[in-house]
């Protein structure tokens, strides 16, 4: 999809990149193989997953019903006008984009890349708005029946993929997307129905809101990775950048009594880690992976040491930052269900959206971004046309560090209001995974981070309601998915060509 069609250097900004993968497509977007030989990978992969799905959702289904509570996600004071307006806007948007899609298909030309994703999101918003307008409290579904329906659908999709392969035709991307969505629905129903209660149910709003919250540091971290790696510097030090960002945010915010200063200091701290990374790997040409790994250990030791010696001795003056309060965006936060999730965030949460958009537009729609990507793909060529390769890399690594630092401030200024040892807890590595899963693309990384946040949150929720799947396996999911993605079992993820190789002029 996105990364597979790139030519090494000198790409047209915006044409070679996937503009918006739906989460489904990025999960199982593999079928869009570009080779002439039709591979059996899609058919076999989907077939195995379908069998697994049938076994779990069909044969091992729980006779209980599965409930999804919606009432809690809706603010009782929210005006119903917002819901109606959203409904109308989403309907109009869905109709318009759907019309464009159909007309483009009828004309026989290619469909613009953004259209399918936009249509799907418009339809989703439409459905949620309808739920809001109708004031539905809770959706209860019989898990047995729906489980079997999902199983049959999965088997049918896998069969279709196999059929296409036999016909020597490529499996279209939508098969993978639909498959992922059906699988997710079946999985959710199955897992909720397996709860301890006689009528188990989970709060849909809580699930989604938690997912977004948990994803915030991951998104920042993965954006840091995207910025560095697109310029050809491997950034394993995301974990260290997050951790030092968290530490510095806590200490500076407490000392100055101002959380915003703390936020800025977090960015500076992240950039500081990056400075070491850049200096040692770009100037002294040390292997970037080693520097990254070592920096993570160094930052972990340094912050833990300072925490144990200084911060615990005097928490009042060093480790008591205030919190960044959540800010409502008027009207948008009144949108049913997704409003409070997306538009009732802290400053860091909004910065996340801004960062994703800025990095995406910057990398793929500006002259600067073209140069950065050229440096990451083919530094010799970039140098030939007059781009200063090492300076570009230096600046990018610093920027990446600053972004990851802001992500780190999430831990101490938003989620918990004090620093503690190793509080980033390996999220830097998950951010790295999200970046790879998102194929070195800011939007893809964002969606992958959301997926990982979702898996993380789902894991903690199902531990509460009790579930047929041990929570450890849910916790494994992001990592397992990443291994699968890296191994190219679903789609192909290809890093920038010059990733990890220092550039020496001459």
């Amino acid at each position: 999809m996105s990364a597979t069609t790139q030519s090494p250097a000198g790409k047209q900004p915006g044409t070679g990149e996937g503009t918006g993968n739906t989460p489904g497509a990025s999960r199982a977007g593999g079928p869009a193989s570009t080779t002439e030989l039709v591979s059996w990978k899609a058919g076999i992969g989907l077939g195995l997953l379908a069998l697994l799905g049938t076994l779990l959702f069909g044969f091992l289904a729980n006779p209980k019903s599965a409930g999804f509570r919606i009432a809690e996600a809706r603010d009782p004071n929210a005006s119903s006008t917002a819901a109606w307006v959203t409904l109308a806007v989403a309907l109009a948007a869905a109709a318009y984009v759907g019309y464009r899609w159909l007309s483009q298909r009828r004309e026989g030309g290619g469909v613009d890349r953004w259209i399918p994703a936009t249509t799907i999101s418009a339809v989703v918003v439409l459905g949620l708005a309808a739920l809001g307008v109708a004031r539905v409290e809770k959706i209860t579904v019989p898990s047995m029946a729906l489980g079997w329906i999902c199983s049959v659908l999965l088997l049918a999709l896998a069969g279709y993929a196999c059929f296409l392969t036999v016909q020597r035709r490529r499996t279209p991307g939508w098969v993978g997307g639909v498959f992922a969505v059906v699988f997710l629905v079946g999985f959710m129903i199955w897992i909720v129905a397996g709860g301890r209660d006689p009528e188990p149910s989970i709060s849909l709003g809580g699930l989604l809101a938690g997912a977004v919250t948990l994803a915030v540091p991951l998104v920042f971290g993965s954006l840091s990775g995207v910025l560095c790696e697109r310029a050809g510097v491997v950034n394993i030090a995301i974990e260290g950048q997050l951790l030092l960002g968290a530490f510095s945010a806590a200490v500076v915010a407490t000392m100055t009594g101002n959380v915003y200063v703390g936020l800025i200091s977090a960015a500076v701290a992240g950039a500081l880690v990056s400075l070491v990374l850049a200096l040692v790997s770009i100037k002294y040409l040390v292997n970037q992976i080693i520097v990254g790994v070592v920096l993570n250990v160094l930052i972990s030791g340094l912050t833990s040491f300072l925490f144990s010696t200084l911060l615990t001795a005097d928490p009042e003056h060093l480790n008591k930052p205030g919190r960044l309060q959540a800010v409502d965006i008027p009207f948008l936060s009144d949108i049913p269900i997704i409003g409070p999730i997306l538009f009732r965030q802290s400053l860091v949460g909004y910065l996340m959206y801004v960062a994703v958009i800025v990095v995406y537009v910057g990398l793929f729609h500006t002259k600067w971004g073209l140069r950065v990507r050229a440096v990451g793909e083919h530094p010799q060529a970039a140098d030939t046309v007059g781009i200063n390769v090492n300076r570009t890399r230096f600046i990018n690594v610093l920027m990446g560090g600053a972004i990851a630092g802001i992500g780190g401030s999430f831990f101490t200024l938003v989620s918990v209001d004090a620093f503690s040892k190793d509080m980033s807890g390996g999220r830097g590595y998950i951010a790295l995974a999200a970046m790879i899963f998102g194929r070195w693309n800011p939007i893809g990384a964002f969606l992958a981070a959301l997926l990982f946040g979702f898996a993380d949150n789902l894991q903690s929720i199902i531990t509460i309601i009790g579930s047929p799947v041990p929570s450890q396996f849910m916790a494994m999911l992001p990592y397992a998915l990443t291994v699968i993605a890296v191994a190219g079992l679903v789609g192909r993820s290809r890093p920038p060509a010059a990733d990890g190789i220092p550039y020496v002029k001459g």
């Binding site: 491997v234 394993i236 040692v280 002294y284 040409l285 040390v286 292997n287 970037q288 992976i289 080693i290 520097v291 790994v293 070592v294 920096l295 250990v297 160094l298 972990s300 030791g301 340094l302 833990s304 040491f305 300072l306 144990s308 010696t309 200084l310 001795a313 530094p379 010799q380 390996g426 590595y429 790295l432 995974a433 790879i436 041990p470 450890q472 396996f473 916790a475 494994m476 990592y479 397992a480 990443t482 291994v483 890296v486 191994a487 190219g488 079992l489 890093p495 010059a498 990890g500 190789i501 220092p502 550039y503 020496v504 002029k505 001459g506």
Partner: protein, 463 residues
């Protein structure tokens, strides 16, 4: 380090031809000389630089002919390693001094009584030495020697896992996954240890074998994915670490692994037949696993320097394309080297469950897998270098515990010192620049070495 290395495959090419930096005026920087080294190391910008800067190894040998012995010693690798350790210790000392309120107090009357400040600064390091090598305050010989046995005990898994990482480094692979491989080795070894009941002698052997297999499986998967699909081993190993950890946590809640009558996620104790015998009696924790670690080191030395497979590993590590052209099966080498590296890390897991801990718990691997990376880097990926680096870091670990107990200095300082050491080791030009020993600056060389000697002494005194 102390081993006799057969020449690195890449070093066989005669490149003693005058490098540009040699003809330049002495005041210049080393960047161009360094650049040419990196071009060689990265096969002309086709692959990432190797873990251990091979160029400096080469440079050390090149100077056999033209440099004085003294010059060679002071600019060579051993010197850089020693200086890196010293520099890290000094920086760690500064960090401890800055954060210690007593130091601030004594610094107030520094000129009246300088001794107080120095005592306060040196105290943590004294405790570190006391806890890791020789405790002169001990009541009897056993108490005095206890620290060194403790160091050897802690170093055992570090050496084994470090060898795994080092071996992979030599084949050009970054094995960040020692953590997961240790867990798998411990998992397999422990299960055989408490679930099977075999006669004495045989049981321990089977446990070791199971641990080797466990680690080899988890490492081999990485090699397989790398060879078959081109998946980057760094990412795969990091992810497999987490997967192994969660798998361990899950298994410890299942009846097959959980101790009977316990609600904690820990396994039953291993049978006494499955344990490594204690070397110095029951009052010391030192076990025969240490001898196994020595044997493993010797094996890796033999493998790398005396066997065909080892030669293939090193050739692949130096330049996969050239190795392929020469008829070496790169895919097979990759799978094999990762399996052996995993088996070595698995041995570390066995040393943990069968020697030190005697049961399996969620924290069986502690942070050994990550420390192993630093151990391998400090040892410059040579077997005996890794062995001594493992001993050093074992001493840091064992001494750090004593230091924390005696002086309330958090053990985290050990992490800081370790990572600083590796950072400096990985960047020899940085250390040379700091100490002013630049091998390329011919005219300033003598003054540079003299300067380093004094600063070395100075930093030694400060520590």
């Amino acid at each position: 380090m102390s081993e006799k290395t057969t020449p690195e495959p890449q070093a066989t090419s005669p490149d003693d031809s005058p490098e540009p930096a040699d003809i330049r005026e002495p005041g210049g920087t080393t960047s161009e000389a360094m650049a040419s080294d990196v071009v060689l190391d990265t096969a002309g910008g086709q692959m990432p630089p190797s873990a251990v800067p091979a160029a400096t190894l080469r440079r050390g040998r090149d100077q056999d002919g033209n440099g004085s012995v003294l010059h060679q010693i002071f600019t060579g690798n051993a010197m850089v390693s020693v200086l890196s350790v010293l520099l890290a210790i000094v920086l760690g000392g500064i960090l401890m001094a800055v954060t210690n309120p007593k130091v601030a107090v004594t610094a107030g009357y520094f000129f009246a009584q300088p001794g107080d400040l120095l005592t306060e600064v040196i105290r943590p390091y004294t405790a570190l030495v006391q806890g890791s090598i020789f405790n002169w305050a001990g009541a009897d010989l056993a108490a005095q020697l206890y620290p060194i046995t403790e160091t050897l005990t802690v170093a055992t898994p570090l050496i084994c896992a470090g060898l795994g990482v080092a071996l992979a480094f030599r084949a050009g692979l970054f094995n960040i996954g020692a953590q997961g491989q240790i867990i798998f080795g411990a998992l397999f070894g422990a299960y055989v240890g408490f679930a099977w009941h075999l006669p004495i002698g045989l049981h321990l052997l089977v446990v070791i074998l199971a641990g080797l297999v466990g680690g080899a499986v988890w490492g081999g998967v990485v090699g397989l994915l790398k060879a078959r699909t081109g998946a980057h081993e760094v990412i795969v190993t990091i992810m497999l670490n987490y997967i192994a950890n969660f798998l361990l946590l899950f298994l410890l809640t299942t009846p097959a692994f959980q101790r009977k009558g316990s609600t904690n996620p820990i396994s039953p104790f291993l049978d006494s037949t499955a344990l490594f015998p204690e070397l110095l009696g029951p009052q010391f924790r030192l076990h025969a696993g240490f001898l196994v670690a020595i044997a493993a080191t010797a094996f890796v030395w033999w493998l790398l320097n005396r066997s065909t497979i080892g030669f293939e590993f090193r050739a692949v590590g130096a330049n996969p394309s050239a190795a392929r052209t020469a008829g070496i099966n790169v895919a097979r080498s990759t799978i094999l080297v990762m399996a052996i590296a995993g088996a070595l890390a698995g041995l570390a897991g066995v040393a943990q469950v069968s020697g030190t801990e005697k049961y399996l718990s969620g924290g069986v691997a502690a942070s050994i897998g990550f420390d192993a990376i630093t151990v391998a880097l400090l040892g410059r990926s040579t077997p005996w270098g890794t062995f001594f680096a493992g001993l050093l870091f074992g001493a840091f670990r064992a001494g750090g515990v004593a230091m924390q107990a005696q002086t309330q200095t958090p053990i985290d300082i050990v992490l800081v010192i370790q990572s600083l050491i590796v950072l400096f080791i990985a960047a020899p030009p940085l250390v040379r620049a700091i100490f002013g020993l630049n091998p390329r600056k011919k005219k300033t060389t003598t003054s540079g070495t003299a300067g380093s000697r004094t600063s070395g002494i100075k930093s030694g005194a400060a520590a």
